[in-house]
Structures are given as C-alpha cells and as structure tokens.
C-alpha cells in the first residue's frame, strides 16, 4: 500500500511536468488554432535562462521568476516576428514552421551551452514526508501543488478577467473580435507569451530531476501532446487531468505490470491515447473540433 501511494504521488509530480507543457500547448491552440511543436524546446531555453541567472548568483526562485519573464517576451516576439506571417494561412505550413523552431531552439541551446548534463537546483527541499505510512518526497508534492496553483490562476484569468475574455474572443473569431475593437495582434502575442511562461515553469520543474540538457523536454513534449489529445484540445482541465493520468499510470505500470517494466513504460500514454480516441474521438473533456496536425 505504501509503495502504491508513493508511486501515485511521484506519478502526479511527473504528470505535472507534462501538464505544464500541455497547458502551454492548449493555450497556444486556443489563441491561434496551432499546435506549437517547439513548446518543449522553448521550455528548455527558459530553463537555461534560469541556469544562467543562478550562475550569476541569483537565488533559485528569483532566477526562475526571471526566466518566466524573459520567456514571456520570447514567446511574444516569436509570435510577432514569425508566426504572425503564417496565421490565417495554411495551418499545415504553420505546423511545419513550429517543427522547424523545435530544431532551431534545440540547436541554439546546444550551441551556447553544449550537450553535457548540467545540474539544476530544485526549488523544493530534498526531504521526504510520511503520508499514510508512505515515504513521499516534498519535491513531488511541491511540483503537483504548483500545477494546481497555475491551473487555478489560468481559470481565473480566462473566466474572470476582461483580458481572459478578450483572449478567448480572439481565439474564436479574430476578425469579428477586431470589429469590437479588440487589439487582435497584441492579444495573440500575449497568448504566446503566457504559453512560453508556462513552458518556463515546466522547464524549471523537470530540470532538477532529469538534469539540464538541450533534449531534456523531448519525451515530455510527446507525453504532453498525448495529454492534450486525450484531454481535448480546448480543455485546460482535461489536459491536466490527462497528464496526471499518464504520469500515474506510467509509474504504476512500470512496477505492477511485469512485462512493461521501465523499458516499455514510454508506450503507456499511447496505449491510453489509442483507447481514448477509439471511444471518444474529441478527447475526454473536449468539444468536437477539427484538428489538423
């Protein structure tokens, strides 16, 4: 029983990293209709920003906050200078552009910082606590709570503020929104900026466990995409729940299903993905949309 609790909570923490990235992907998709395949690579760059700030002697928390701000600007600039040219055009072209960005950002990170693993300090203490007899790491709990907090903030932003309403309106119908005076271009920049800021959180959460490398987010991106599809592309809550589900099942399957083990556990989200899509093509929480990937 205590192993089980431990696996579940560690699985939630693992899933929370996928969830942060999944939320970023949902955010971009909600505001531009695109899937940003470079979201993970942008998160890696963010983690390196934080790494540099830590190197300059900033406390970890300040370094991460700093990287969140820089990432927001990076996301907004990428939208303005690059993605803007492809919006409203052929979505397939735009998707290829984001895949190009994935390669570019990974390359930039490797070129500047090399491909060696670098240690990244954890925001949370390395202690453990006792929950119902199970030994659970404070880092796992902290990671999970961080995602819960972010989800609440996002929900408040989108449902409770004028900015959130404007972001949603522009996502649904930009030209109609413009007729009501909404600054469409600026709102799209904000959407991409917020997504990149979320990615920065994901990067800071995953880096201590995996150590920092340019390819750190590759697996997480694949899992996040699976979570987004399972949860429904237009549902932040769905994405988070699906990401948690993936994290937990991945952990449990590795231990309790003998033939899966640690080698095959990467296949777990895809088995879930296929089953969910067979039963509910629009995802667990999503409304029907045409997804062009």
């Amino acid at each position: 029983m205590d192993t089980f609790i431990q696996l579940v909570i560690d699985g939630l923490a693992l899933g929370s990293v996928y969830a942060a990235l999944a939320l970023a992907i949902v955010l971009v998709n909600q505001s531009t209709g695109l899937i940003n395949f470079s979201q993970g690579a942008m998160a890696v760059l963010s983690a390196y920003f934080a790494y540099v700030l830590i190197g300059w002697g900033f406390p970890t928390i300040l370094a991460i906050l700093g990287s969140i701000v820089v990432s927001f600007l990076l996301g907004a600039i990428v939208e303005r200078l690059l993605i803007r040219r492809f919006e409203g055009g052929d979505p397939d072209t735009a998707v290829v552009v984001t895949i190009g960005l994935l390669t570019l950002f990974t390359g930039i990170a490797g070129w500047i910082w090399g491909y060696n693993n670098r240690q990244f300090p954890s925001l949370f203490p390395l202690e453990t606590v006792d929950i119902l007899g199970a030994v659970v790491s404070v880092r796992s709990i902290g990671t999970t709570l961080t995602i819960v907090g972010i989800m609440v903030v996002l929900q408040l932003l989108f449902q409770g503020t004028k900015l959130g309403l404007a972001l949603r309106a522009v996502a649904i119908n930009p030209s109609s929104a413009a007729y009501s005076g909404l600054p469409v271009g600026r709102l799209l920049m904000i959407g991409w900026g917020l997504a990149a800021a979320l990615g920065a959180v994901a990067g800071a959460l995953v880096a201590p466990a995996l150590t920092l490398t340019p390819g750190m987010m590759d697996t997480a991106l694949v899992y996040a995409l699976a979570a987004v599809i399972i949860g429904g592309l237009n549902s932040p809550l769905g994405a988070v729940v699906a990401a948690w589900g993936i994290g937990v099942l991945e952990n449990l399957a590795a231990v309790y299903v003998p033939f899966i083990g640690y080698d095959l556990k990467i296949a777990v989200p895809f088995i879930i993905l296929f089953v969910v899509l067979l039963v509910r093509p629009q995802g667990l929480f999503g409304r029907k949309v045409v997804v062009r990937v």
Partner: protein
Amino acid sequence: MTLLELDNVTAWYGPVQVLDGVSLSVPDNGAVGILGANGAGKTTTLRAISGAVRTGGRITYDGRDIRGLHPEQVAKLGIAHVPEGRGTLGQLTVRENLRVGAYLRKDRKAVAEDLDYCLELFPNLKDRISSSASALSGGEQQMLAVARAFMARPRLLLLDEASLGLAPSTAKAVYEAIRRLRLESGIAMLIVEQNANLAFTLVDSAIVLETGRNVLSGSSAELKGMDEIRRAYLGG
C-alpha cells in the same frame, strides 16, 4: 452634417479588384441602404470602411480620412460592424458576447444600463443570457449580433444582411427592433440588404451596386418608384 463619405472607393482581395469606384454618404443620424445582386460588392464595401480589405479612393468619417486604418482602430472611432454571417462568438455565452461588444468602454454603469436596454429590446436574449451563443437560433444570433454592436455605443452601425437565412416573420421582427434602436438612439446606419422591402422599412435613401460600382442612388421613395428597382428587388 455628413458623418461618413466614400469617394470613388476601390477594393482588392489579393490581386483581384472587386470594388471599382463606390461613392456614398451617410448623414449624421441618417440611415442609408446598399442594394445589389449577389456578388455586387455590398459586403466588400462595408469591409472597406472597416479596414478589413485593401482599398483605394477616399473614406472620410467625422471629418477625417480613415482609409488604411485597421479594423480595431476603426472600431475605436465609433463604427460598429455587424458582419455577414453575424460573427457571433459561439463558445462564449450571450452575456460574454455583449461584454466583448463593450470592450472599449470604461463607463461601467452606462454599460450595465445599455445591457438592460438590449435585453428589453430583444427579450429572447434575456432568457438565454447564460447559454452559449452557438445554442441560439439563427434569429436570436442575429439579435445578439446587433445587440453586441450596440454595446459599443457607436455613432455609426454597419449592418450586413441581418435577414440572411431567417424566416420572413423573424427577419421582420429583427428589423422592427433595429428601427426602434435607430429612433431611440439616433445611431447612423449603413445597411446592406438583399430584401429591399425590408430595407425600405428602415432607410431614408439607398444606393444600388452592380459589379463593384454604384449604378443608382436616391431617396427610398424615389427608388421604390423606379421600374427597374421594382423588377429586380421588390418582386415585381
């Protein structure tokens, strides 16, 4: 006083020229119609005013040249546009659609009053205030589109085929409400309408477009008397 004046306006979709010299003027508090067959360029004329297409010629609003401005800048100047197909924000609720309409306004109390006014003008919306806009009937969506435009408190309303796809009685009810809106608010209106009978219940004058240029204009009474208008747009 003239509020809006188009002088020899041209418009392009990419390399294709669609408007070939449209001229018209809307007086303060006036209502002007644009009639014409499918593809004549009625919708494009409204898009040209809103800055949603590339244009040439001169577009003067309230004494200043607004040609080349972006749609959101045009909206800021007090021009609200109910686009063809209504532009309803389907996943948002009726209330949220109306709040989007009032996006540029800071006077919260007046916004609340105008919201009440809209719900009184379109009682159907009142019962559906919290349902998502995509769940409304076609007529209700059209009412919502008009109400949303009104929530901006514009000086000029551009209205594109409010009767499109509606049952005749529903279309009549929508136009009746718009007429009341015009009387009570004094908003100037430029109205595109295929159904000339409906248009003439609302407008003081109209122009007729044919392949991107005006071929006729006159007061409602004059136009209604013309044989070619009767044959082409009034059903005999």
